[in-house]
């Protein structure tokens, strides 16, 4: 309005040049760093000290670096889960709940065979997590295909429901630790614990599984007919239907794959890090996974990189809190700011300012 009075108009570019996009996005990232610096100043801490302690806490030692990868592991899974769904333009906001469902179903299956060999228990928890997460996401898929319920709404509602379901099972429920005070299960059977990859670290098999999952998702999207359908669904579901593909089947399949990946995040946290099932071990990975997926450009390897970056943030923040007193909760604010600026920068680079006749 005012811009047009000045003789300019914002117009979409026919195609965005690579450099323009890079400048816009890195500008956005820089802006979010500045904003974070201001947040540090607001709580009376020098931004330099804060950023330094953040990096030191994340990568300062071998132990810190592996811990960063531990933190990144569930985010790789949830980031992949989000990326697969978003690629098909299915807004699965329910990864958060599917992490719970995967962990719960894995736990249910595993506790039935506790005491058996790891060669039996480990495959069972992996498959159990995938089935649990996949089925819970499938509920949203079914609601969409059968009852035309928008998946954004249904997945969010399902997120809230499963938290209460877990609480129901844990608090004085069938899964509660005998004589325990907290809302959690007893420690899991040693045969179901994910093996540690390097001595004297906490890095566990889950990280390796996450990398394998990334590779498989990459192959699936790029090389397989399923990937073609996912990409086609993302650009035009109706055209897919005209072509003779059953779009309902595609929706259900994508939701199942997405949920299965999310479930693995729950499994890896329970059996790789906490060794027991409790809500605190599972929260917020789903929502952070959305940011990870978007910053990773919905590309599996991009997701891995973004997840490691976020793992570093989370890990570094704990150290930062000890060193500088800045609450580690700052990280969640930073993540959101990063996402907002990134989206804005990305979008801004697809516009140009055009001189119009006054």
């Amino acid at each position: 309005m005012t811009l047009e009075k000045l003789g300019y108009r914002i117009e979409p570019r026919a195609e965005t040049s690579g450099p323009a996009r890079a400048v816009a996005v890195s500008g956005a990232l820089a802006a979010s760093l500045v904003l974070c610096g201001l947040l540090f100043l607001a709580v009376g801490v020098s931004p330099v000290t804060a950023f330094q302690s953040l990096v030191q806490g994340a990568f300062g030692t071998w132990r810190a670096a592996t811990e960063t990868l531990v933190k990144a592991t569930p985010l790789i899974f949830t980031g992949l889960a989000t990326a697969v769904a978003f690629r098909a333009r299915l807004w699965n906001i329910g990864v958060e709940g599917q992490v719970f469902a995967g962990a719960m179903f894995a736990y249910w299956c595993q506790s039935a065979i506790a005491g058996t060999s790891p060669w039996i228990q480990l495959p069972v928890i992996v498959l159990g997590a995938m089935v649990g997460g996949g089925l819970y996401a499938g509920v949203a898929g079914l609601l969409k295909t059968r009852f035309r319920v928008d998946e954004v709404i249904s997945t969010v509602m399902l997120n809230y429901i499963i938290v209460y379901m877990l609480s129901l099972l844990l608090l004085k429920g069938p899964w509660s630790e005998a004589g325990g005070f907290f809302e959690q299960t007893a420690k899991v059977d040693a045969g179901a614990i994910l093996p540690i990859l390097f001595d004297k670290t906490r890095l566990h098999l889950g990280f390796l599984l996450a990398l394998i999952a990334a590779a498989l998702v990459y192959l699936m999207i790029k090389r397989s007919p399923v990937g073609y359908e996912i990409r086609a669904a993302g650009s035009n579901l109706r055209a897919l239907e005209v072509q003779g593909t059953n779009s309902r089947r595609v929706v259900l399949m994508v939701m199942f794959i997405s949920g299965a990946l999310a479930g693995l995040a729950g499994m890896s946290e329970v059996y790789g890090v906490h060794y027991r099932l409790k809500a605190g071990a599972l929260t917020s990975y789903g929502y952070t996974g959305i940011i990870v997926a978007i910053l990773g450009l919905l590309n599996p390897w991009g997701v891995v990189i973004a997840a490691i970056l976020f793992g570093a943030l989370v890990n570094g923040a704990t150290f930062m809190q000890i060193k500088t007193g800045v609450p580690s909760a700052l990280i969640y604010a930073i993540e959101a700011i990063l996402l907002l600026f990134y989206l804005a920068g990305w979008a801004a680079s697809s516009f140009k300012l055009k001189r119009i006749k006054p």
Binding site: M1, I10, P12, L39, A42, V43, W91, I93, L143, F147, R148, V149, D150, V152, I153, S154, V156, M157, L158, Y160, I161, Y164, M165, S167, L168, L171, Y287, I290, I291, I294, V326, P327, A329, L330, I331, Y332, A333, I334, E335, A336, I337, L339, L340, L343, A344, W346, A347, A348, F351
Partner: protein
């Protein structure tokens, strides 16, 4: 249990609680309804309400004035929705993703700020909260009086916003133009009217209302701030707009239905009936899904809802 629940005093207390619980959701839902009528789907309601609830608390704590807290919350809601509006109307970023970003921002920023402001975040200080204002004469009406007319000022305001929103949408020229923006923005544009300005106004209005709703959670009832205390109310408000077919009176009815579930849940817990409380707490979300599944068609949705308008 049934006999206990049917006692008049209990019925009155459940219904009065329904009206109270409905307040923040109704405020947010009416605002969202106006925003969606302009074609913009503000999915960031949860974060907007949460952040406003927080700033209302912080504002009231430091200024000592509850009303200043409310004003600060409204400014917060307005600012957050302004960010949203800029992202989706000017930059045309995907509305769902932007909304999520806003939710994460509200969640992250409020927890960070809370921890930064109070060393012991587990034991944050309580603040006073609004008293009920019984309306003279009306509150003496048997049965209805204590339910409807012994409430807080923000509750009266929320319910008065229903006829106000109806009048605005269906009886004023601005309301007609706003509905047109959501249905056929091009027609408005051709007439030389500014589509983006109307969308901005609607979205920011929605933010102010969400801010008011958020404020009610802290200075209106809880008297303190707890992380994630909105607990899905922002999302329920969005469901209510859909279930209420984008019309003020059905939106009111849907809000009452959800709030009644919540009030009943509190009462059943209070009596100590042996139903697991988690099941009762999950009821609003389960019912939300059922409500949307049963209704099937999205009748009443603005034609351009969620689709950015490109001026060619």
């Amino acid at each position: 249990m049934i006999a206990e629940l049917l006692e008049t005093s209990i019925i009155i207390s459940v219904l009065a609680a329904t009206v109270r619980i409905a307040t923040p959701i109704l405020l947010a839902a009416l605002g969202e309804m106006i925003a969606e009528r302009s074609g913009v789907y503000n999915m960031g309601l949860e974060g907007t309400m949460l952040m406003s609830a927080f700033t209302a608390y912080i504002g009231a704590y430091y200024t000592g004035s509850l009303w200043l807290g409310v004003v600060i919350a409204m400014i917060t809601g307005g600012l957050m929705s302004l960010i949203f509006a800029f992202m989706v109307i000017t930059l045309k970023v995907e509305q769902i993703v932007t909304g999520l970003a806003l939710n994460l921002l509200g969640s992250g920023l409020s927890i960070f700020w809370l921890r930064a402001a109070f060393a012991n975040a587990g034991q944050t200080p309580t603040i006073p909260f609004f008293d009920t204002v019984p309306l003279p004469l009306l509150s003496d009406i048997p049965f209805l009086g204590p339910i409807l007319f012994d409430q807080k000022l923000l509750t009266y305001l929320a319910f008065l916003m229903v006829p106000a929103a109806w009048y605005f949408l269906f009886r004023t020229r601005y309301g007609l133009e706003l509905r047109c923006v959501g249905e056929n923005p091009k027609a408005l544009d051709i007439k030389g009217l500014n589509v983006a300005a109307r969308q901005y106004a609607a979205v920011v209005f929605g933010g102010l209302m969400a801010g008011l709703g958020g404020a009610f959670l802290t200075v209106g009832s809880a008297a303190r701030f707890v992380p994630e205390m909105t607990n899905g109310r922002g999302w329920l408000a969005i469901v209510i707009v859909i279930a209420g077919m984008w019309r003020p009176v059905p939106v009111l009815l849907a809000t009452i239905a959800f709030s009644f579930l919540d009030a009943l849940q509190l009462q059943i817990q209070g009596i100590g009936v042996a139903i697991p409380y988690q099941l009762l707490l999950a009821m609003p979300y389960i019912c939300a899904i059922l409500a949307l599944a049963i209704r099937r068609s999205h009748s009443g949705a603005p034609a351009m809802l969620g689709i950015p308008y490109w001026r060619k």
